[in-house]
Symmetry: C3
Subunit: 169 residues, 3 copies
Amino acid sequence: MNEIQELRGVVAELSRKVRALEDQAEIAQLVAQYGPAVDSGSGEAAADLWTDDGAFDVVGHFRMQGHEDISGMVHGDGHQHLIRNGCAHVLTVPHIEVDGDRATGRNYALNIRWDPEADRFRVARVSANAWRWKRTAQGWRVVERVNANLDGSPEHRRLLAPPADRASD
Amino acid sequence: MNEIQELRGVVAELSRKVRALEDQAEIAQLVAQYGPAVDSGSGEAAADLWTDDGAFDVVGHFRMQGHEDISGMVHGDGHQHLIRNGCAHVLTVPHIEVDGDRATGRNYALNIRWDPEADRFRVARVSANAWRWKRTAQGWRVVERVNANLDGSPEHRRLLAPPADRASD
Amino acid sequence: MNEIQELRGVVAELSRKVRALEDQAEIAQLVAQYGPAVDSGSGEAAADLWTDDGAFDVVGHFRMQGHEDISGMVHGDGHQHLIRNGCAHVLTVPHIEVDGDRATGRNYALNIRWDPEADRFRVARVSANAWRWKRTAQGWRVVERVNANLDGSPEHRRLLAPPADRASD
């Protein structure tokens, strides 16, 4: 192997590593945009984080599918009431596992609300989140987000289990 | 184009991507240092996260400008009282948009306090944060942080809107 | 210096930067796995985040050492009671400082619990965390995690101080 072939091999390996880092960073930034989008009432920006037919399942409440459902939720009375009172959808850094053009992850979401009557904030909901993402021509997008209250239900906390443990259930 | 010119092009593109990743990582780490600095009472370390004349605007309360203002706040009676009682300034991962040597971002800050009388912690404040950062000879620094309570005020939650949506307001 | 030597130098510098980014990303993901592991009851997955003889010090309560101690805590009555009621161990993004094959960091942990009687969530504990990590043949692992309640104790909040400030105490 000549010098340039050797160097080309090093560069190819480096390119692979950089792409893996970009995938991680881009997916983490996708998740970091959800809260600010919905809490500022930016329904289209929130919907754009999903694929065209992406799903958002709030277990026990409702399941949205597609951009119209998601932006409709943000512009709807329930959500508008929340943000007019003062509300934060705080998502934590997900654990991300990338497999080619697909990825899965898990993290927490905190829903914190201002309670004007009690003159204080309340942690209204803490939930387990399981994510599926997909690489598209426009970058990584959410294929499915399952959001379930951490209220003691075994199937809700199982959403947080490492993939290997979930498979062996 | 000969082989080495071609490879040089690949390496240049890779260098650009690595720099973009470094910018993201460095800014995220800058934000991750704020809470630990102020909650340990390290006023100079907190101030050093800003440019020399950087601003920190706590909307409705006060606006600090420059290192002396910021370290003065940390060493001041109000903040010292907080940390002596037990206090956590928890910042979430920001959404970051880099444009050359400037960057903007948005995230949440939670202010959680130990209440010795009630023998429990309380979420005292949840706020929207809008950031401007700048690349300096010493690395990325905060140019301005605007911190506004998520109490339902429209102009406060607008701090969380995607830049495109804010521009079209 | 000929063209290929020059390019090899650029690639070597790039490799160093990519490795630094990988270290940061891998350690951040290690921390992101703790909460989901323990809140899903995956004791072995939690223990595997540590080195074989890694330590986990919950200041004022107990100190675990080695995988058996850590998985034993997860499978034990106290923790099982917590997660059956509904519980979230929410860790924030650590500030990370890498020095060769060792790294240190600091962040927050929130322990949020569902209180079925009051029909609401409560922030049960907010703590300062100081971490030591080590690069092993299997990747980065936790050597020691010290977790201390932010209840106003000076030595607890000092865990959050920048290394330089801690040294000068």
